[in-house]
């Protein structure tokens, strides 16, 4: 089968690669680019562990082919962490026990980050609805909702 050459801006760096069309984005990131912060859970769009950003929006990394991301800007938890843009969110997760095994955490953080950007005054119910696409099998979600709600509140206060 053919391979296709693709280019993308990955965590701020222009890269070129040869990929098989069937390879999905998270396999490309983990296997070919050694970025293992995005996790592969169900590989059918149910669990949200593979959440990454493509062209500024969160997507399921297992439901996008690497070739579909040709020409796009791709950001993973590695890039987001390095940027420091959500340091407060990461600190809150740590401080408030919003992670235990950590498997869902990178996806959960990226999903929460888009909520912070698009619905800065979200209620706890809206937070729960928003993260309903990300499974966590350890925490029971309460601490995750606490951490996100805390950051939303802190960011609102900082604006005043």
């Amino acid at each position: 089968m053919q391979t296709t050459s693709i280019t993308m801006t990955l965590n701020g760096q222009k890269i070129h690669a040869e990929v098989e069309p069937r390879q999905h984005l998270v396999d490309f990131l983990r296997e070919d680019q050694a970025l293992t912060g995005s996790h592969l859970g169900c590989e059918q769009g149910a669990c949200g562990a593979c959440t990454v950003k493509v062209d500024g929006k969160i997507v399921r990394g297992c439901l996008v082919l690497a070739v579909q991301a040709n020409g796009s800007v791709v950001e993973t938890i590695e890039g987001i962490s390095a940027s420091g843009a959500y340091k407060d969110l990461q600190q809150a997760f740590l401080k408030m026990n919003a992670l235990q095994c950590g498997f869902c955490t990178s996806g959960m953080l990226l999903a929460a980050a888009e909520l912070i950007e698009t619905q800065p005054t979200a209620t706890r119910t809206e937070i729960r609805e928003w993260i309903s696409g990300n499974y966590c099998r350890c925490t029971g979600y309460q601490a995750i909702v606490d951490a996100i709600a805390y950051v939303l509140e802190e960011r609102q206060l900082a604006k005043k």
Binding site: E20, P21, G45, G48, I58, V64, Q68, G133, N134
Partner: protein, 288 residues
């Protein structure tokens, strides 16, 4: 699991996509947002030789409002529909329905057209298209044709779209009449497949209901318009919808009219019961 190998081509016009479809026949598969296709590829339920990616086709994208017609391009994403001012003002039922479609990361890529063409019985857009009497615009080798949404969805995952055709857009006629709507979906987890859903759109003429369209989804193989119920509700005054005897009559009508089918976890009997539950909630809400 991993998808079996396939070739991939990104196209930039409808003509280019149609030519590839004509060339490859059943071995080709169009990919829109891919949010249902990728799981089926990963699980090897689908095994195309070539994927034709429509994301670069500008003429399939965007929302417009001209000459009393709202047009939603097939490649418009769920999130774009949610954020659209035109949709909020002219078709608020759709704005209200969006949050029920899967989850944000999926709504960012999944499209109007992809959802309609798949014809999943649990999907929101086919039901909304039928409730709002949308017209599906289809391009094929012989040119364009239009099909009413109520004639588009034929059976489980089966639509009026032929193998060599592409859904281009859906069109909605907007009149000056006052409209009211209701949307409700029951699911086990927010964003999961609907157990049962109800979409309703009706016109009001001085508080009298006309052209009431109640559509159920995830109860049978396609979204079902309750035609008998239309006769019960039309010409009633909107405030009478809370009247217990009218509610009972309406529930009896849909439960007699709509043949529910079971799914993997929910029996046909339970779905029949839920037809009435959702209808009562809708009628009480619309009356208030």
């Amino acid at each position: 699991m991993k998808a079996a190998a396939f070739n991939y081509q990104r196209v930039h016009s409808i003509q280019e996509a149609l030519a590839l479809l004509a060339n490859h026949g059943d071995n080709a598969k169009l990919i829109a947002g891919g949010q249902s296709l990728l799981p089926s590829l990963n699980m090897r339920l689908s095994n195309p030789e070539i994927l034709i990616d429509l994301q670069g086709v500008a003429e399939l994208k965007g929302i417009s409002f001209e000459g009393g017609i709202v047009r939603i391009g097939a490649m418009t994403t769920h999130t774009e529909i949610q954020n659209s001012k035109i949709i909020q003002e002219q078709l608020p039922l759709l704005t209200e329905a969006v949050p029920h479609i899967a989850h944000r990361a999926i709504r960012n890529l999944g499209t109007w057209g992809g959802s309609c063409v798949l014809g999943d019985p649990a999907a929101e857009w086919p039901a909304c298209a039928v409730a709002l009497d949308a017209v599906m615009v289809i391009a094929g080798p012989k040119g364009q044709r239009k099909v009413a949404a109520k004639d588009f969805f034929l059976d489980l995952y089966t639509t009026a779209l032929e193998a060599d055709e592409i859904l281009v857009a859906s069109e909605f006629t907007i009149t000056s009449a006052k409209r009211v709507h209701y949307f409700e979906e029951l699911s086990r987890r927010h964003g999961d497949y609907a157990v049962t859903g109800l979409v309703c759109s009706m016109q009001l003429e001085q508080n009298k209901i006309t052209q009431s369209r109640v559509v159920y989804f995830s109860v049978a193989s396609i979204p079902l318009l309750a035609q008998g119920l239309q006769k019960v509700l039309d010409n009633q005054s909107i405030s009478d919808l809370a009247n217990p005897s009218l509610i009972a009559q309406a529930q009896h009508s849909v439960q007699a009219e709509i043949q529910t089918l079971s799914d993997l976890t929910n029996s046909a009997e339970m779905k029949k019961h839920l037809l009435g539950v959702l209808l009562e909630r809708a009628m009480k809400k619309l009356a208030s």
